[in-house]
Amino acid sequence: MREPTPEQIRDERVYRSLGLTDAEYELVVEKLGRLPNYVEAGIFGVLWSEHCSYKSSKVHLRRFPTSGPQVLQGPGENAGVVDIGDGMAVAFKMESHNHPSAVEPYQGAATGVGGILRDIFTMGARPVAFLDSLRFGPLDDGRTRYLFSEVVAGIGGYGNCVGIPTVGGEVQFSPTYRGNPLVNAMCVGILPADGIVRGTATGVGNPVFVVGARTGRDGIHGATFASAEDPEEKERSAVQVGDPFLGKLLMEACLELIASGAVVGIQDMGAAGLTSSSAEMASRAGGGLEMILDRVPVREEGMTPYEMMLSESQERMLVVLERGREHVAFAIFQRYGLEVADIGRVTDDGRLRLIWHGEVVADMPVAALVDEAPVYERPIALPSEPERVDIPASLPAREAWLAVLSHPSVADKRFVYRQYDTMVRAQTVMGPGSDAALVKVPGMDKAIAMATDGNSRYVALNPRRGGQIAVAEAVRNLATAGAKPLAITNCLNFGNPEKPEIMRQLSDAIDGMAEACKALDTPVVSGNVSLYNESRGVDIQPTPVVGAIGVIDGIAKRLQSAPTRERAAAGLDLWLLGREDDSLEGTLYGELVCGRPVGDAPYIDLAEERRLHDLLQAIAGTRAAAAAHDVTEGGVAAAVAEMMIQCGAGGEIDIPAGMSQLGWLFSEAQGRAVVAVLPEGAEDLARLAAAFAVPLRKLGRLVASEKVAVRQAGDMVVEIPLAALRDAYEHAIPMALRAGTAGASA
């Protein structure tokens, strides 16, 4: 098959199939000063795709705060880096792999994990943890059960094999994700604060190497595929296949090579493979690159320059070495049995030049490819007012409590996380099931705290406040564990940006997130945008997912999300930190009763939120509390039940007089946490709460009993065996999956 000529590309509008619009094609012609050939048009198509260029979101992303004394590397590199003190730093980033996972869930999820892993070790950091934020449709659907099981297996398949623990994340289920699941993977690594390596191709004449896997025909046009079209129409052939064994060897070899000091710049070949890695490295250095494609190791014969440049074969890196030290790399890669090929040179002419069979097959200005990519100020719809709805109290407290606990978004996720190796590396202090995960810094009495969060119901109802809550919830998880929050990364999963109402959601959610980041002093240091999350023309609910990082100095200070069995059995008081609230707006209760998200997003006040976080850290320092758990989906009722189920103690709960019973139990007002405290710790707790101006009320106690009682002004509201709550919570997901299996075989 012959490639189309430049004239054919123009006349037959071949560029459209490469992802370029008519106007974008005209811009390419203008930048080049001539018609692009097929290779060039393909390269522009992929680099100017939404996935690589952020052309619809860029103008809005600029509103995020990205700096602070703790920030060592902000957005723009392979990952962000923050200072955790004592000469150490943490590199972290989250990335979406939604579209591939919708088509080929095991490999889509596995390569999502592999890709984010490479972004972290590329910074010179030793990866130490994964977290995964997943969204699926309801489990009563056979395809959803397949996607859910395979995504989880794929994450485990890659993460377990590379030997990095998966310590946290969350899974939520909503009809909005039925045709378009979300798979967002986060990786965290540790490095010396002065040891950051960047993805720059500097030093004219320095050699450029491709290392790791050979280049095949897999994943060609994966990036443009992720930027348009309906998942229903997507082809599995555009999805890459991961090899975690090779990924592990590549990681060890690259870390060893970086430690040798011979590396000038290093970059993962992720989306758009060789194209984006070479263009981005040259762009950051303000220089150029010349690559001889005949030298790229390939998997199959007859690969064209177009295919080599657009392949998304996994487990490959582009490395620029200091001239004269190539032998260092050869020795290391040989030891790991990895292929390494010298494919070109760094130049200073600002051009990306590709040579094949002795001829120049592409010659483009780097600036035009990366920095001058189109930026769109897409039309934004007027904001819509949240609807006013009366949420009927049609579900009585007892039934509602069981329904909330057995909703798969709230229910026990053990089915998921016990398929992940959560402890390899032997540094996991707190793993999945806790508010935040804690991973020890080897050899130091210090741990990195990490958590992900993001509730699309709130964002759908009120994008700005929902954006604030997404950040606040993730960061609160860190504080609840007693850690000091430092910074965040995010994945912005939204629908079709060509629709003005979707751009309104994106713009407002970013405003809300930015406000929360400022209030909580957690700048955005890395992130990713995934648009066109739609199925059959229907967009998903806007889903910004936040990954937060913090640090705790002295791991003995940590707060568990539930007390130990022994301490609970001895009797502990339960206190509510934060305001009393009885609004059902935006709650899971509301969604269960009305069949859709209703009302406004729950209450949040960022100043109150900040004071709560500061208080929680202070409490952790004094050990007044035996445990702390934040109040989120399912309200105080879910928070207290989860604590009781974990520690195996029943107890008593008291609803304040004058509050609506259902409202108080299930309100998802933000800025709140439940703490379990020894009776003699009450005074300390009150003194601290007063110092931080956080409202405080004793809401009940834990006792060595199998009974749970909720009262208001002495009257019994709900009396229920702890076992009933536990069954609802623990059996929901396994039963949903089993019911599906039975149905399928019937």
Binding site: G156, G157, N160, C161, G163, F245, L246, R418, Q419, A426
Partner: protein, 230 residues
């Protein structure tokens, strides 16, 4: 005494095992690459967990052909202590240093969690610091940990006290709830659970400590005897 932890391409619990040995015994530990042909300078050798050579053919099936495993075979024959953890256990059965095989878990999923083990032998060099019948907490993390052997072999293991650890509640469908077994000479132990992940309080259990300490004590006594006889 001196320990070696063999590192295959794809091993991922090598550092954890070395750290656990240092932490519990204070001994010297070397990480030894899989192409090593002579391990005679070591008193104890650990084959760590992970996915040696990607475990692509069958867990441990390729590692058995590595030079290091040939060296391990020689040292095991010479009475040195050999401990295979998780993937290391799989390598030992594939190498026929231990009987039986480790099959896919009966529920077909990878499983990582703290499990309760019962100590079935407390006279071996690996288990002497435990009480017989004692229940201990050690985490597992495997997809292929279902021990299988024919009934005669299992009966033989039982009769000769070569079942070192049993699961209190089997997480994988192992025959006779077997979690770890000893070689004929008693100087080779393979187990699926990870003792190196139960070393300090914040890990949730410290029950793995005594396994490494047992080995240390056994070897040091032997070395002391040898010195006394010299």
């Amino acid at each position: 005494m001196k320990w070696a932890v063999v590192v295959f391409p794809g091993s991922n619990c090598d550092e954890d095992a070395a750290q656990a040995v240092r932490e519990t015994t204070g001994d010297v530990v070397d990480l030894v690459w899989h192409d090593a042909t002579d391990l005679s300078e070591y008193d104890a050798i650990i084959l760590p967990g992970g996915f040696s050579y990607g475990d692509y053919l069958r867990s441990g099936a390729i590692a058995r052909f590595s030079p290091a495993v040939e060296a391990v075979r020689r040292e095991a024959g010479a009475g040195k202590l050999v401990l295979g953890i998780c993937n290391g256990f799989q390598v030992l059965t594939e190498s026929h240093l231990l009987p039986g095989a480790l099959l896919r878990n009966n529920h077909l999923q990878f499983r990582c969690e703290m499990v309760e083990l019962v100590v079935d032998n407390n006279t071996s060099p690996f288990t002497r610091a435990y009480q017989l019948g004692e229940r201990i907490q050690i985490p597992i993390a495997h997809g292929e940990g279902r021990f299988h052997a024919d009934p005669e072999t299992v009966e033989d293991l039982r009769k000769r006290g070569r079942i070192a650890f049993r699961y209190a509640h089997s997480p994988n469908g192992s025959v006779a709830d077997i979690a770890g077994i000893l070689g004929e000479g008693g100087n080779v132990l393979g187990l699926m659970p990870h003792p190196e992940r139960a070393i300090v309080d914040w890990m949730g259990s410290v029950d793995g400590r005594r396994l490494f300490q047992s080995m240390h004590q056994y070897v040091e006594e032997g070395l002391a005897d040898a010195r006394a006889n010299a």
